[in-house]
Amino acid sequence: MSIYEDLDSIKVDADLKKNETVLKEVFRDANDIVFRNMKVGQNKKLKILLFYVDGMTTKDSISEYAVQTLMESINLENLEKSNGIELENKVLQTNIAITELGVLQTLQECVDKALSGETILFIDTCSKVIWLSSRGWQLRGIQEPAAETLIRGARDGFIETMKINITLIRRRIRDPKLKVKYMQAGTRSKTDLALMYIEDIVNKTVLEEVEKRIKNIDIEAVLESSYIEELIEDDVYSPFPQVENTERPDAAASALLEGRVVIAVDNTPTVLMAPATFVSFMQSSEDYYERWMLACLIRMIRYIALPIVMLLPAIYVAVAQFHPNMLPTQLALYVAASRANVPFPPYFEALLMELVMELVREASLRITTPVGSTIGLVSGLVIGSASVEAGLITPIAVIIVALTALASFAIPSYNFSTSLRMIRFGFIILSSFFGLFGISIGLCILIIHLCTLKSFGVPYLTPMTHFIERRSDLKDTIIRPKIKTLVRKPKYLQVEKEKGK
């Protein structure tokens, strides 16, 4: 263990052998780490050591552009006995056709760089080390995002390589004020993060808060952006997400243009966007690509879907158990007749069907695509109609659950619709005890929670909580304003200087 702890303090030795010994000790039993000793220079007298991770580098670029050049260009006759600094400068000035390179001084830095996919060049008698940009692992091609498909819109999505993701965003915002700050998180994984923002638009308070929270992350490994999300959000116990994520570069660009902060995480094909509010989860990129009137209609349908997702099964339970007089007479009699031979009470029916629906959803996620949709269809048919015919549930319950499931797909954000699905169970339980009164109390508790919730200092229910002061922001909630009148920078992100808001 001590060699790993001391690594930070071990500077690069001028003796190549010593460096090699230490590194071989560090990477003992790591057979994918390559140590390549060579003699370069016109006299082939200069010893170098190339140190890289097999599979993470483009070996061709190193051998073609670096090694070959070093072998041919450097005339070391006069430099054989020169000090390391002169040699190092000479090497640096050599026409190594690598676009990016730099100098390292400690072995820890060498290890970190090598594990990031760079090639480390040790030169005998030099007390500094040169790293050559050689990242080149196998990449997944840019594809359409799986979870955020649009009918009209760009079909490129983020991939696992952070730098390519940054590029995808840069292509959309060719503004020098778009800043990208690199950070790292995870003591072992040392996952690269990029904090992106537009300097003159971003809310500085939010930016500072995001930076501070990322710096305070103390975790061994960050395997996915969800780790970052959970570690930086305001309230982990809330069922509602407070950081948005997207696979779409256009959505990320749009967030940047609003003044939000985007966090790209290496090895994750999603980026995080902060702050996130209730309204932002109900917006989709497609709203801005379709015609205005259609977009307004779709948005309104989405907001209608919201109470359906949360409350429809609970309302069914409340009406069937407590308030049958709410139904039209014919319907009440029909529901009563259909329930006559069903052994389960309405709340059990609703809970059971919702559980089955969640099982079908999970099962279809795990199964490969061609079969998955068939399984979903078959299970829906079998469970739905067969259960009705067997007298286990009523047709109304099947319709209710199907409608609820459809409505949940109308919510653009998967995270958010999952939260609503979770809350639904709470409402069903409350309504089974107190009917519509229970649902109302549940809504009150939900409202309290949402009113308390903040995302990096921004109230979650903005702009509804300030619907007079921020009425211009209300334009982009239930309807979509015309592109001409679209307020790119919402007021809730411009409040840093105002006290108490």
Partner: protein, 374 residues
């Protein structure tokens, strides 16, 4: 992150919440499944020697059953007593939340005390909707409820739909309990539809005249129509005016009635003038005659029609003023709203003033159309 004390506080809070929640949620006091209730659709109330006879109609909700409804008859003091007794005689919970119609037997309607008790209970009940339909049975309400109508076996639904239709078409002034109670509160009088058995069905043609919660008598269909013309001229129609003009039977209908009212109260003398312009159309004449092209013939039709309508109006007014002494025309309400100072002087003797009032109807007719042929 948390100190020990904070963790303990959090644990205590959680325990308290769990305890309160389990106490509160052991209830479901009001939970009765929709299929475990019996919904009373119609109730008929008759009088007997000791108490009231409640006849209730409950549609059967079991699928596949041959019977469409159940009819329960019980002697009870009031609705609550009836529910309490019925509760013990059925495996399901009685519910009046979907009640469609209440039928008062003629004997009940003629007893003001009983009517007041029943109306009070209905308006107090939070479950029973004040929009429940109400009508008077000619004879026994039990017979009305027990009627087997082949086309619509549920009498409550049949009557409810019938009354909605009659109200919409302006055949009747009142069709819900709420309207009845509002009218009785404002003027002390109201007109409630009367339901009668008609072979294998039911009919609602006449109306019962209520004064101070007591049934005074009945109005015939044309009298009801005449009252409706005065009460709601914009929506009123006179559907069938049959007259004989120069040996030919002519049938007219009247739509679009324009009416103005003039009320004057000088001391104890009330004078009310109704000026109505009736826009009419010819319903039927006789093939082969082209007399309708003659203006003078049309004028004769107008005269005869006016005479006929006037006769009905006069007889209705006479009945209301002198026989029933009941102001169904809401003159009292008009005096209260627009001539309050004068009304207050005679408010305690309004009945006499109304009986002695000079109520005049001035009719004018315009024949707007002769139909699709001349």
């Amino acid at each position: 992150m948390f100190t020990d004390i904070e963790v303990q506080m959090k644990n205590i809070k959680t325990i308290i919440i769990i305890i309160i929640t389990s106490i509160l949620l052991t209830g479901c006091w009001d939970s009765v499944e929709i299929n475990k209730r019996e919904y009373i659709f119609a109730v008929g109330i008759d009088k007997n020697d000791k108490a009231l006879t409640f006849t209730s109609e409950i549609p059967k909700i079991n699928e596949g059953s041959e019977e469409q409804r159940l009819v329960y008859t019980k002697d009870s003091e009031n609705f609550s007593d009836f529910y309490a007794t019925s509760y013990l005689h059925s495996e399901k919970a009685i519910s009046d939340r979907l009640m469609q119609v209440i039928v008062l037997g003629e004997d009940v309607a003629r007893d003001s005390e009983t009517v007041k008790r029943i109306f009070d209970e209905i308006q107090r009940s939070p479950q029973m909707n004040r929009r429940v339909k109400i009508c008077i049975a000619k004879g026994k309400a039990q017979d009305i409820i027990n009627t087997e109508i082949p086309s619509n076996p549920i009498v409550g639904r049949f009557l409810s739909e019938m009354l909605i239709k009659l109200k919409r078409e302006n055949y009747q002034d009142v069709y819900t309990f709420d309207e009845a109670i509002l009218n009785l509160g404002k003027t002390g009088n109201t007109m409630i539809p009367v339901v009668e058995i008609n072979e294998k069905s039911l009919k609602v043609e006449r109306a019962g005249v209520f004064k101070e919660y007591e049934l005074k008598g009945f109005l015939e269909p044309d009298e009801v129509a005449a009252v409706m013309v005065v009460l709601n001229p914009n929506k009123a129609k006179i559907r069938n005016v049959n007259i004989m003009v120069e040996g030919t039977n002519v049938s007219l209908g009247v739509v679009d009635i324009i009416m103005t009212t003039d009320m004057y109260l000088g001391g104890d003398k009330l004078t009310v003038d109704y000026y109505a312009t009736l826009n009419s159309y010819i319903d039927s004449f006789i093939i082969g005659s082209n007399k309708l092209e003659d203006q003078s013939y049309l004028n004769k039709i107008k005269e005869e029609a006016i005479k006929s309508i006037f006769a009905v109006s006069e007889s209705t007014l006479y009945k209301l003023q002198h026989v029933y002494k009941t102001d169904l025309l809401k003159i009292k309400e008009g005096l209260f709203k627009y001539h309050k100072q004068d009304y207050e002087k005679i408010s305690d003797k309004y009945d006499e003033v109304f009986e002695a009032a000079d109520i005049n109807i001035h009719l004018d007719m315009v024949i707007k159309s002769t139909g699709l042929v001349k």
